[in-house]
């Protein structure tokens, strides 16, 4: 059974059809990659999966059970963790406080319940090093980390708190080549630990090496849905870039040159 499955899912905002008839699956230990240009419906899709918005057509199944999340908290309770591009962390707070934010370890009883700061610090350090992320000091504000490191902290957090599905919203968009490589390495690591990963990107070169399945979106609808064996990177890039449209444009340009 798939961890997540959406069948002919759709969402309208007033008279705007943001998403229609999109289907895909997310399996444990596999990466499903969602590709598409700006406005293709990528964000709408992940917001439905993350519980920020609700779908109004089609079916959304979590481990076979149809669901409709009322809040991100509910999605989290179902084991679906989302790491947003820039909203993943609170910059002024320390690494370990960010790591445990919303699920803090406590000691003591009743009104005297306190944060377990020692446990927080040590668990953070250990969870990060288990993912192969080596931080100098978990007391430093997250704002002092690089963009890639911050993504990694958020990914490690999701893995630590037992996420079954990890949704990554353009994790490599604002990063340099090397940093993007590091983040993709952790995506692969999360996958190898048995998580289902949804990777949103518009860069086929980032998507192809780690993904098992590709969902291409365009103007709110599915443009194609491929297993990795069905498509190579050149074809993926061609489809991403507009495919047939681009060829028509090229043809037109040649006509102009001739004239």
């Amino acid at each position: 059974m798939s961890l997540l499955e959406v069948k002919d899912i759709g969402k309208t905002y007033g008279s705007v059809i943001a998403l229609r008839d999109v289907s895909t699956v997310v399996n444990a230990g596999e990466v499903t990659c969602v590709l598409g240009d700006n406005g293709a419906g990528k964000s709408t899709l992940i917001k439905i999966l993350a519980g920020v918005h609700q779908h109004d057509r089609g079916e959304f199944l979590v481990e076979g059970e149809p669901v409709k999340f009322a809040s991100p908290r509910e999605a989290l309770d179902h084991g679906i963790a989302t790491v947003y591009q820039d909203l993943a962390v609170v910059p002024l707070m320390s690494v370990w406080r960010n790591f445990f934010l919303g699920s803090e370890p406590t000691t003591g009883f009743g009104p005297f319940k306190m944060l377990d700061r020692k446990k927080g610090r040590e668990t953070t350090k250990k969870a990060l090093s288990d993912m192969g992320i080596d931080l100098r000091d978990v007391e430093q504000p997250v704002g002092t980390l690089s963009g890639g490191e911050r993504q990694c902290v958020a990914i490690a957090r999701a893995v630590y708190f037992g996420a079954k599905v990890l949704i990554l919203d353009e994790p490599t968009a604002a990063l340099g080549v090397k940093q993007a490589g590091v983040v993709l390495k952790y995506v692969a690591q999360a996958r190898d630990r048995g998580l289902g990963v949804v990777l949103i990107t518009h860069n086929p070169h980032h998507a192809y090496p780690v993904a098992d399945r590709f969902l291409l979106l365009k103007r709110g609808a599915a443009l194609g849905h491929y297993e990795k064996s069905e498509i190579d990177i050149n074809e993926l890039t061609r489809q991403m870039a507009g495919g047939a449209e681009l060829e028509a444009l090229e043809h037109e340009l040649r006509q102009v040159e001739k004239a």
Partner: protein, 347 residues
């Protein structure tokens, strides 16, 4: 391997010196300022260090300090409460009117004003969260509304703009014993509001850095969207913070009415900015997400020391405003420099 990671400090982190560790504390600037002001007035005036002098400036700092601390928590949570100053008068008035005009027992009247305060606080918080409007403008509204209510209701009930005669009400003695008594150290009387100030500061400091709720305060002030996406109950946290400010205003209102036994309907107006100034001097960022309860208490101490020190030195009190302005600017510059350091983004 993992055990080594847990127990051994990372070899790449140099053992931080005392100064390095202190510099990142939000209250350090305020502490230096307090020492400076203390030494200055101790040298300039003889009275400042006398027991009576100390009692005077501690008293002046105490009620301001209680409010500065609760306002600091709210500011760390990313919001303002401009109705906090006038709330101290509103709670006094509710207590006084119920006790003197309706003949209620003072304890019962205190309970009623507590419910009133928490209600106003919850309303402020709910409105801010519901509308998404800046709390600056929402609480400016409730500030003006309360100011009008204070004057209007007082005039309706008493035909004057003050309520007095608390001393003859039932329960005044026992309630006064809790909120507005004095204690003696070495022959000098100190107000019990100083003890309240210390207690409130200790509780707030503990709440802010040692509890889960404190973690949420930093998170909702630092980045509300991130906090919500990891499951922090943002709305509840912020409403509770507004209620906390109202609770502080109730405490100060109760201390005032039981100490002076009368209250002016126009009391408290303008104090809200003093609370914010004290909190900022204590290291709170105006943008939220960073600050300290102890710092705000020290900010209030600077306020009290300077205000009374200027009186002891027999200068014109006009100079106090100049001092305040310079102090505030210095604090904002220091805070700003810190923020840039802590929030700097390396790509």
């Amino acid at each position: 391997m993992t055990a080594a990671i847990q127990s051994q400090p990372d070899e790449r982190v140099a053992k931080k010196g005392l100064t390095d560790r202190l510099v990142v504390r939000p209250e350090i600037g305020a502490l230096l300022g307090a020492v400076l002001v203390f030494v200055f007035f101790s040298v300039v005036t003889g009275q400042f260090l006398s027991p009576l002098g100390v009692a005077t400036w501690l008293d002046d700092s105490s009620t301001l300090g209680i409010m500065a601390v609760v306002v600091a928590l709210l500011m760390v949570g990313g919001e303002f409460d401009l109705s906090a100053g006038v709330m101290t008068a509103s709670t006094s008035l509710v207590t006084a009117i119920l006790a003197t005009q309706a003949g209620w027992n003072v304890w019962l009247a205190l309970l009623a004003s507590l419910v009133f305060a928490l209600g106003v606080g919850a309303f402020n918080g709910w409105l801010v969260m519901k509308t998404g409007l800046p709390s600056f403008i929402v609480t400016l509204g409730s500030f003006l509304a309360l100011q009008g209510l204070n004057l209007g209701v007082t005039r309706l009930v008493t035909n004057t703009v003050q309520v007095s005669g608390m001393r003859s009400t039932s329960g005044y003695e026992s309630a006064g014993g809790l909120f507005a008594s004095t204690f003696t150290i070495g022959g000098t009387e100190f107000q019990s509001s100083i003890v309240w100030w210390i207690v409130v500061t200790a509780i707030a400091a503990w709440l802010l850095v040692r509890t889960r709720f404190g973690n949420w305060i930093f998170a909702v002030g630092g980045s509300q969207v991130s906090a919500r996406s990891v499951g922090v109950p943002v709305v509840r946290t912020k409403i509770l913070l507004f209620m906390g400010t109202a609770l502080g205003a109730w405490l100060v209102g109760s201390i005032n009415i039981l100490r002076f036994a009368s209250v002016q309907a126009n009391q408290g107006i303008g104090l809200e900015f003093q609370y914010i100034i004290a909190a900022v001097i204590g290291g709170c960022l105006l943008t939220g997400g960073f600050g300290s309860a102890v710092g705000a208490a020290i900010g209030a101490l600077i306020f009290g020391m300077a205000r009374q020190g200027i009186v002891f030195a027999q200068w014109n009190s006009d100079w106090f405003m100049l001092f305040l302005g310079v102090m505030l600017l210095a604090a904002v510059l220091v805070n700003n420099a810190f923020r840039r350091r802590a929030e700097r983004v390396r790509r």
